[in-house]
Each structure stands twice: as C-alpha cells, then as structure tokens.
C-alpha cells in the first residue's frame, strides 16, 4: 500500500517535471530547426535534421552583439556596485548599534516594495534633468536599486555569524577599522558575497522595464527590450531566429546556474527563510 502511493506520487512528480521542462525543450528544438521544417505540421521531431544555422545568423547579427555587450556592461556594473554598497552597509548594520539603525534597516528593506512602474515616470523625469537618460549609469543605478535591499538583508545574516572577537583581536594587533573589514572579515563572508553578486547579476540580466524606458538609442539597448523591439515585428516573425536569440540570451544565467547552483539558491532562499 505504502509502496503504491509512493509510486503514484513519483508519477505525479514526473508529469509535473515534463510540463515544466517541455517549453524549454521546445525552445531549443525550434532554435535548431532549419527554416523549411519550422512551420511543418505535424512538427518535425527528428533531431538528425537539425542545424546550427540560426545560431550563426544570430551571432553574426551586429545588432544582437551590441545588445549583448550592453547587457554585459550593465550586469557587471550592477553586480559590482550593489556588491560594494551592500557589503559596507550590511557590515555596519551587523556590527554597530546606533540610534535609528534598526529603523534604517527597515526603511532599506521596504524600498523593495515600491512598484518600479509607479516610480519609473518620476525616475524618467529626474534622469532627464540630470542628463542621465541614454547612459549605462542610469541602467546600472536603477538595477542596483532593485538588487540592493535584499542583498543587504542577506549579507547581514552572513556577517552576523562571524564572531566579534576577531575584530577585537585585530584592533589589539593595531589593525585599522577599514583594514580589518577588508582583510579579515570580508574574506570570511565570501559565500555571502558570491550569493548576493549572483542575485544582482540575475536582476540586471532579467531587467526589461528600465532598458525599455531609460534608454532609447539602439547603441545602448540591452538584450530583453532589444529582442522584443528588433525581432518581434507585427507579423512574420522569424521564430527560429527569435528562439536562437532567446537561447543565447539565457546562456550566461544558465551557466551561472549550472556551476553555482548552491550559492544562487542560498542567496535567494536566505532572504525569506532566515527570520
């Protein structure tokens, strides 16, 4: 009886797994199809007729490479900026108690709840005044803002696990505060730094709204709005090309996921599961 229910549950699990993975399989299969087979009904499942032609087309498309480069710049900029800011702020929150410190933490965390779309209009007007529209800086600032609150919260949890006696010892040995932070404490929270960096990278790679509104020049477009605006016309999409672009656009995150899954999930989970 117990074995049978176990088996049924495993079958349910398998069905769910197939449902969740099928769209990914279909995307990759489409990306590998030559144009002649693309619109064939019933669909062509034969993997021997596949081709890499769509990938070579997309990778030799100048526009696509520009989008890719821009997304890379924004993603690394965001990751770097939010990592530094989060490391400094969360260290302070973890170690020093001053009046208003816990209130400030709450304020920081709650900024995450403000709807981006509601603030977007004001941000657009503000950046217009500051001449920041159509710059990488605008995108990096906006994406880092999305990543920062949770990063501080998660990293503070990592700092809290480091014993205070380390700093006291360093201070007695004549180590300055900044030196202590960078040479002794930060190396100990490397997993935390890695987790929040991955998180910031994901946020900026996933960004669509900021890339669409804060930037209007083709040379500065990032991947997500770029693919939507350049390859999705009204009719006659070249689906194989769009799917190939999608696969290539997802590749960096897939690689991060494959090699750093543990850190990626721990960063995401810690924000909620700590408490």
């Amino acid at each position: 009886m117990k074995d049978r229910s176990h088996l049924l549950l495993n079958i349910l699990l398998l069905i769910l797994l197939v449902l969740f993975l099928a769209p990914i399989y279909w995307m990759i299969l489409t990306a590998l199809k030559p144009n002649a087979l693309l619109l064939k009904m019933p669909p062509e499942w034969n993997p021997f007729k596949l081709t890499l032609e769509n990938f070579t087309t997309i990778l030799s498309d100048h526009k696509f490479l520009v989008f890719y480069k821009n997304t890379g710049i924004v993603a690394f900029g965001t990751t770097f900026l939010s990592m530094i800011l989060a490391a400094l702020a969360s260290y302070s929150f973890s170690r020093f108690k001053f009046r208003g410190s816990s209130f400030l933490q709450l304020v920081f965390l709650s900024t995450q709840m403000f709807p981006a779309v509601a603030l977007m209009i004001a941000l657009y007007a503000l950046y217009h005044k500051l001449h920041l529209l159509n710059t990488y800086t605008a995108l990096i600032l906006a994406c880092a803002t999305n990543a920062l609150p949770l990063s501080i919260w998660v990293l503070k949890g990592f700092f809290d696990t480091i014993p205070r006696s380390l700093e006291e010892a360093a201070s007695i040995d004549g180590c300055g505060r900044i030196q202590t932070l960078f040479q002794i404490i930060l190396p100990l929270v490397k997993p935390g730094i890695l987790a929040i960096s991955i998180y910031a990278f994901l946020i900026s790679w996933d960004d669509f709204l900021w890339g669409l509104t804060l930037v209007s020049k083709m040379e500065l477009r990032t991947l997500a709005p770029g693919i939507a605006l350049a390859y999705l016309g009204e009719y006659n999409y070249d689906w194989a090309k769009v799917m190939a672009a999608s696969v290539v656009a997802s590749l960096p995150i897939l690689l991060v996921f494959i090699f750093l899954q543990k850190h990626m999930i721990s960063g995401l989970v810690m924000g909620a599961v700590k408490e």
Binding site: I24, M27, F114, A116, V117
Partner: protein, 313 residues
C-alpha cells in the same frame, strides 16, 4: 550583545578627542552612507517627484514647461472607468497567479521533501524555468501559443480537445489565462525552492512526536508543518504579490494590453498614459494611487497575518 562591542572599544583608548564611541558611530554611518545616498537618488527623490508631478500638467513632449493644474490629473483618472477595470484586471491576475504559484509550488516541494533519491538534482531541474529571463519566457510562450503553427494548438487538436485553431492571446476570454500560464511557469520554481527550504527546517522530532500522538497525516500537515513554515510562507506570498502586481514585461511582449483592453493591467495602463499618450502627469497620478494602495495593503496584510500567528501560539 550587540552594543557591548562599542563600549569595550571605548574603554581602551583615550587618544581621540571625542572618544572612540564617537568615531565608531562616524564609521558606522560612513559605511551606510553610499547605499543610503543611492537609495535617496533612486527611491526617495522619485517618490517625492512622482507626487509633485501628479499635481502638474506634465507632458513628455514638453518637459520643461510644467504647470499646477488643480488636481486635473486626478479628476481625469476618477472619471475614467478604465482605471477601475485596469485595477480589477491586475487584481484578478495577481490572485490567480499567486494562488497557482503557491499550490503548485507547495505540491512539488512536498513531493520533493519525501525520502527520495537525487532530490537536489530534481530540485535543480524544476528550478530551471526560473533561470530564464522574463522576456525569454514571454517569447517562448508567444511561440507556443502561435495560432497557426503553435505547438499548443497542435497538441490540443491531436487530443481532440479543440476543433479549430484558437488564437489564445488574441481572444478576449483566453488572453489573460494564457498570460497567467506563462507567468506561473516562470515563477512557480522560485516559490517551490523557498517552500522546500522551509520544509527542511521543520524539526524532525516534532513530526515524529505528532505521529506517536496518533495524528493523521493531514492533522500533521496543518498543525505541525504549516505553523512551522508560516513565517516563510508569509514572506514568499507577499513578495510574489508585489512582483506580480507590477508585472510588466509579460504583458508588454505577449499581448501589449490587448485584445481590446482585456489584459491592460495597472502597469500597462501607467506606461500607456506616460509614454504613449505622453501625459506624464496622468501616469504619475496613477503611480501615486498605486503607492497608496500598496502601503495600505502591506500594513493590513501584516496586521492580519501577525494576529493569526499570535492566535496559533
């Protein structure tokens, strides 16, 4: 425990003019300053600015000439029935999406929380859809739903479930559910991973004690498991509500708010006001209403749920 460190430092040095405590404070604030400055620039200032803009005549085409307009933006909004509809559509989308995320995510998490081989590998596979950018999710489902050559219509026809090509994203009744499917596909994995992590923190001995006391498995679930992970559930549900409330990319790419206005949610409505009707003032007014609603909602949500928790204790 936290404040002790500061005092200790204070004792061992007199060489500073203001005392070490003062410099500690200065250092602490100095560390926070860069993050605080950035959030001021990107959250606090826009927040004040969006309120100011909502009271002015503010056109995208002429951003240097702005005029106070006696609440005209708000009057415009309150006489536009479309605002209420946009709000209701958003509400419908959020409620259905978050519920499905929760139910399916919870189911998978429970299935993976049994004694099962290769749990981490399976968790990784289930997590995979979340790693694709939202735009890619939108584009993939756009292709799946494609009326003539889409695989969705093909499969349903092969199974004799439909008799004609359905334009899922182009018909009034099916557009919203079709977008919901895409968003559930993309978001459920994250919910699942969070709940699974929470389930694994439920103390084993509590569950065993419940078994010894003769609790049925449903009693065990509702009286042991759920209370243990309530804190996490509360957080993940709230963050899922907030994410979906402002969902923009899926709608923009998959339907653009159509057909007619069947999928014009608040996010799309705001974007249209500001960037397609060029009326930044109106867009800002929607933003302000939206912020007021979210603040009221979050406070109520926390009140209700913290009462419930107190009751369970």
């Amino acid at each position: 425990m936290k404040s002790k460190l500061v005092i200790k430092f204070d004792l061992n040095s007199n060489k500073y003019f203001f005392g070490k405590l003062f410099y500690d404070k200065l250092f602490a604030i100095g560390l926070i300053l860069p993050a605080a400055l950035m959030l001021c620039l990107t959250i606090v200032l826009p927040l004040l600015e969006v309120i100011r803009m909502s009271f002015h005549n503010y056109s995208l085409l002429n951003m240097n000439q702005i005029k106070w307009n006696n609440f005209a933006n708000y009057q415009l909004l309150f006489t536009d029935p479309e605002l209420l509809f946009a709000f209701l559509r958003t509400f419908y989308y959020v409620v259905v999406t978050v519920s499905l995320n929760l139910v399916i995510g919870f189911t998978i998490a429970l299935l993976l929380n049994r004694e099962i081989k290769s749990r981490n590998f399976l968790r990784g596979l289930f997590f995979l859809p979340w790693t694709f950018p939202t735009l890619v999710a939108a584009v993939v489902w756009l292709w799946i739903y494609q009326p003539q050559y889409g695989i969705f219509n093909y499969l349903l026809q092969t199974c004799d479930l439909i008799s004609r090509h359905v334009n899922w994203l182009g018909e009034l009744n099916t557009a919203m559910p079709a977008v919901i499917v895409a968003s559930v596909w993309k978001q459920t994995p994250l919910m699942m991973v969070m709940i699974l992590a929470a389930l694994q923190t439920v103390p084993r001995d509590l569950e065993e004690a419940a078994v010894i006391d003769g609790a049925s498995s449903s009693q065990r679930f509702f009286n042991v498991t759920i209370p243990c992970i309530m804190g996490v559930l509360k957080t993940v549900i709230l963050s899922s509500i907030i994410t979906n409330f402002q969902m923009f990319a899926l709608f923009f790419v998959m339907t653009g708010g159509g057909p007619v206005r069947a999928t014009t949610t608040l996010a799309i409505y705001t974007y249209e006001a500001a960037f397609m009707q060029f009326n930044l003032g109106k867009g800002a007014a929607v933003g302000v209403l939206w912020l007021v609603f979210l603040v009221v909602f979050t406070v109520t949500y926390n009140r209700i749920l913290s009462k419930k928790e107190a009751f369970q204790d």
